[in-house]
């Protein structure tokens, strides 16, 4: 067994009671939390960008060696989460559940083939369940593990020391949309390796792509990165 100490970091709009009773992540953590190597840092009733909550953990002086940035609608199904992360972080600096192995011009989401939301089949990696309950129907995006350019921000993990050494933070101008794309671009700009790892999980939402808030985020992202 690995001796990693991981910290699950989540920014949720829910109250503390609702998070632990109603959310997929809260329910998951009640079960997989038997593992003493797992700690949590949950920001309840969060109305700000998750970037600020995530950056707090990156800058914190705590014992946890690995930070896992997770959205609250994710069911974690693997009792051996820490071991999976250890295997993933032996290969990559930042790991996720799904991502793309190439980045194209004006790419608007980790899975898209350009500015639209068409899927770039053949260039994706990851397996992720979809559904309201744990063990949703698995969607196979592509082989895992694979080195990636961009990762889905529903779940991303890295060693705290690696992030600090590379001075990589989340940009708080990005809200729930594009904070992940921006983070991955920043990581790649610093020469860090990104990749998918084999953590079994189910996502409740399909993402809120195409909303006005998403469009605003896309414009801000393109203004920052040019493409």
């Amino acid at each position: 067994m690995t001796d990693l100490q991981i910290e699950i970091v989540c920014a949720t709009p829910l109250s503390e009671d609702d998070f632990w009773l109603r959310s997929a992540l809260g329910n998951s953590l009640r079960y997989i939390g038997f593992d003493a190597r797992i700690a949590t840092c949950i920001h309840y009733e969060n109305r700000l960008s998750p970037a600020e909550a995530y950056n707090d953990s990156i800058g914190a002086e705590r014992d946890s060696t690995v930070l896992v940035f997770v959205q609250d609608d994710l069911w974690l199904q693997d009792y051996f989460l820490v071991d999976r992360l250890s295997a993933g972080l032996d290969l990559y600096d930042v790991v996720g559940l799904a991502g793309c192995v190439r980045r194209v011009k004006d790419q608007s989401a980790w899975f898209s083939d350009g500015p639209g939301l068409e899927i770039q089949n053949g260039f994706l990696s990851g397996v992720l369940g979809h559904g309201a309950d744990a063990l949703g129907n698995a969607h196979v995006f592509g082989p895992v593990p694979a080195e990636c350019e961009l990762l889905d921000g529903g779940f991303m993990a890295a060693r705290r020391r690696t992030l600090v050494e590379h001075q990589l933070l989340f940009d708080s101008q990005f809200g729930i949309h594009f904070h992940d794309m921006d983070f991955c671009r920043g990581a790649r700009q610093r020469g860090m390796k990104l990749g998918t790892c084999q953590v079994s999980a189910t996502r409740q939402s399909q993402g809120a792509y195409g909303t006005p808030a998403w469009s605003d985020g896309y414009r801000a992202y393109l203004a920052k990165w040019g493409s």
């Binding site: 997989i32 199904q77 051996f80 369940g129 309950d133 063990l135 084999q198």
Partner: protein, 225 residues
């Protein structure tokens, strides 16, 4: 590598896929070309008969997985997990004991034929419940080399079992077939171990009935201690 999942269910084929934890899990996990299934529906035969047919069959499977039908497979990378485990051990399970006690009647039980769990020297993590991601019990660190494994899930390379002539004893129809199989494997110097595969077991086991007591006597008659 080709993996063959062998399971016997009392359910008919339709209810198996609609209602059993294993049937529902496999549908949710999606297709993996490396995994085939070999299911016996409406089963009334002992598990050793069915499992031995799998070992001796002409199918070209490399790895055999013997499994109960009341198990939620909740790891989408199940096949990779099994293959990883079989790089370390000849036979893998989810839970087991690292040493055998005197007159131990179950992989987890205390010495002396009792039915209480003795956590010392146990290994494994398994969830319990009627829905996926049940409440896990931590028996002990995983992986660990073991003397005996819980028969809810066992996997081995077919060639290993054939080469060492490790089979299930048909006299242990539903109880003690796993203990006996592990004793046989250890006698042939196979390495047994637990592996970290995330599953939830619906039932908590069926210990202490008349049938269990009968097989317990048979088991101690066969193995002595």
């Amino acid at each position: 590598m080709k993996l063959e999942l062998i399971s016997a269910s009392r359910l008919a084929e339709g209810p198996f896929w609609a209602r059993s934890a294993l049937g529902q899990s496999l549908q949710k996990m999606g297709h993996d070309a490396r995994l085939t299934t070999n299911f016996t529906f409406e089963n009334k035969r002992g598990l050793p008969d069915i499992y031995n047919e799998g070992i001796q069959s002409a199918r070209d499977s490399d790895v055999l997985i013997f499994m109960h039908d009341d198990v939620w497979l909740q790891d989408f990378f199940f096949v990779d997990r099994v293959l990883e485990g079989l790089e370390q051990y000849d036979v893998i399970g989810l839970t087991g004991c690292t040493k055998l006690r005197h007159r131990q009647a179950n992989w987890a039980c205390e010495a002396g034929g009792g039915k209480e769990i003795d956590f010392e020297g146990l290994s494994g993590v398994i969830g319990h419940g009627h829905v996926p991601v049940g409440h896990p019990t931590l028996f002990g660190p995983v992986p660990a080399q073991c003397e005996s494994l819980d028969g809810v899930f066992l996997a081995a390379k077919k060639e290993t079992l054939l080469r060492h002539q490790v089979m299930f004893d048909p006299q242990f129809t539903f109880h003690f077939y796993d203990m006996d199989f592990c004793r046989t494997a250890r006698k042939k110097h196979l390495r047994l171990g637990t592996w970290g595969i995330s599953v939830t077991h619906v039932s908590g086991g069926d210990f202490g009935g008349e049938s269990w007591a009968d097989k317990c006597r048979l088991y101690f008659d066969k193995w002595g201690d």
